[in-house]
Amino acid sequence: MNLRVYIIRRLLLLIPVILGVTLLIFAVLQFLTPFQRAAAFATNPQDLRPENIDRTIERYHLNDPVWVQYGIWIQQVFTGNLGLDRNQRSVATVLVQRAPATVELAVYSGIIIVIGGIWQGTVAARWKDRAPDHATRVLAISGWSLPTFWLGLLLLAFFYGRVNWFPPGIVSDWVTIDRVNPGAFTRHTGLYTVDGILNGQLDVTWDAIVHLVLPVFTLSFVSWAIITRIMRSSMIEALSRDYVKFARAKGVPESVVVRRHARRNALIPVATVSGFVVAGLLNGVVITETVFVRPGLGEYAASAAVNLDITAVLGFTLVNAFLLVITNLVVDIMYAYIDPRIRLE
């Protein structure tokens, strides 16, 4: 099977998954009150006024059989309408507005997790059963066992409460008051770190980085362990292979053997857990943003859940499921590209 056929087959397999995911969310919707369900369809606060609610129920066929409702709902979802939240704002719009804060946190954490995890796994494998390996194991097990929210609070208590180096939030007040609000700062991408550079205001970039240090560390710490452990075991296996022995025998320097010969092959199993790592990041974002009062998607979803704002929570859940579907698709295709054995099966 060549790569194109593999990709097409993989894309076809997406249909039942997307159908199932939307059906599950829709099933949860069915348990809600008619008013809450109407909020999941509405596009305009006027729709939810008491005098208009009957018209809204009529318009979105909420009294019709379930499959008709599902058809209408899925149409709404794919045209980008996720309903209104408790403040009568469009959930989809709020999610788009809040996305940059989350993207900044998740992308920086992701980069650190991948590079750091691969590096640490390599070190642990090279020094198997020696001090660096034991240290890695202790770190990995404690990473698995540490509650993310507790780690975040401990860091905040010291680095914010005691020494005040790394405050919570997304940027300092002066950025909002002196730069963004008077229009002296254009938000091209929404990412403060990048926009600071684009605007030539490096003090803003620096301020955003200062606000990112603790959340990125907290979010990375847990998922770091996953990649490190996988990298360690696959690296140990690769280092015992004949081609590594051959490379050593012909006098290739050890560092080149590790980097060029062993590590490249050891990276393949790491690719398979990346879907897992992304899921961990998405879960972690909810907790990390809540702890660090960072106005991103996760913080929105968590506060919505506490306030029983079901439309917002379900919209967020759906978006996350789609993100994970896409991630798994990309991972599988990349995997088939790197490792020809997969698509030949």
Partner: protein, 311 residues
């Protein structure tokens, strides 16, 4: 019986060789003792004059010592101090001791539910195969597509916050991994000689599955389950921390940590390190509990997994 005893002795010896296994076992046993002895370690103080409100019928409801916003530091009366008085001044020692019992209950019930569904569907999917397998595994795929914590949040938010719903929500996100595990083991065992021969002897499908296939798959399931008790408690603690727990006065580790958020993030001036006891003790209990089960799971793998144990 003789070979079984020999194997058990060998397993114990394997366990003794790894210091981390001993640590894991010790931590977990320690928590078992705390959970069992909770009524002795932290008896209900109902009726004492300093208690503002108290529920003598449900020891999981923490007695309230007042509404002043300042938490009380550790003292003879409150060995771990109290939480800040919004919504109530609760004794942290009482909370973590009864929270231990709550953690066991939540962990065992959720993992038990997930095991039940997972083993049932995994056996059916793996043994019968075909269209049944296809349907079950596609449903599993759908559930695995959601980030676990986020799906649990959505379920709890939609169906309401009470202990039953929280446990059901976490079980709903947990069962799919067991289906995958059991199905894989069944697929491998189905074609083995011993299964073929009991089938030739005329054993029923149910008998083959329960008496012959399942016992051979039980070790990997046990290893995963022991690690999952810790992970489940971690997820439930995260839910409580986010404010989706059972209730503010309920003895629950994540909920106790939640009280202190305002002291650290929302406070104007003041050193949160002065209130260290309000977040260090409950967090430490969660961490040690999860660590204990993780180490124990690792140890069980060394002892039980036939592929690893003889190496």
């Amino acid at each position: 019986m003789q070979p079984r005893i020999r194997e058990a002795k060998f397993g114990l010896n394997r366990m003794k060789q790894n210091p981390l296994s001993i640590v894991g076992l010790a931590i977990t046993l320690g928590f078992v003792v705390i959970a069992l002895a909770a009524p002795l370690l932290a008896p209900s103080p109902c009726g004492r004059p300093e208690v503002v409100s108290c529920n003598p019928n449900d020891p999981f409801v923490m007695p309230n010592y007042g509404y002043e916003t300042e938490p009380l530091p550790p003292s003879a009366d409150h060995p771990f101090g109290t939480t800040p008085g919004r919504p109530g001044r609760y004794d942290i020692y009482y909370g973590v001791v009864w929270g231990t019992r709550n953690a066991f209950r939540v962990g065992i019930v959720v993992v038990g539910l997930a095991l039940l569904i997972g083993i049932l569907l995994g056996l059916v999917a793996g043994y019968y195969g075909g269209i049944l397998d296809e349907i079950i595994m596609r449903i599993v795929d759908v559930f695995l597509t959601f980030p676990s914590l986020i799906l649990a949040i959505a379920i709890v938010a939609a169906f309401g916050q009470n202990l039953g719903n929280i446990m059901i929500a976490v079980a709903i996100v947990w069962w799919p991994s067991y289906v995958r595990l059991v199905r894989g083991d069944v697929l491998a065992a189905r074609e083995e000689g011993y299964v073929q021969s009991v089938r030739a002897l005329g054993a029923s499908d149910a008998r083959i599955m329960v008496r012959h296939i399942l016992p051979n798959a039980v070790y990997p399931i046990l290893i995963l389950a022991s690690m999952d008790i810790g992970s489940v408690v971690l997820v439930v603690a995260a839910l409580s921390f986010l404010g989706l727990g059972v209730g503010s006065n309920y003895a629950d580790w994540g909920g106790l940590v939640n009280f202190t958020r305002d002291l650290i993030v929302g406070q104007a001036g003041g050193d949160p390190l002065a209130y260290w006891y309000t977040y260090v003790y409950p967090g430490l209990f969660i961490f040690l509990f999860v660590l204990g089960w993780n180490l124990l799971g690792d140890a069980l793998r060394d002892v039980l997994d036939p592929r690893v144990r003889r190496r």
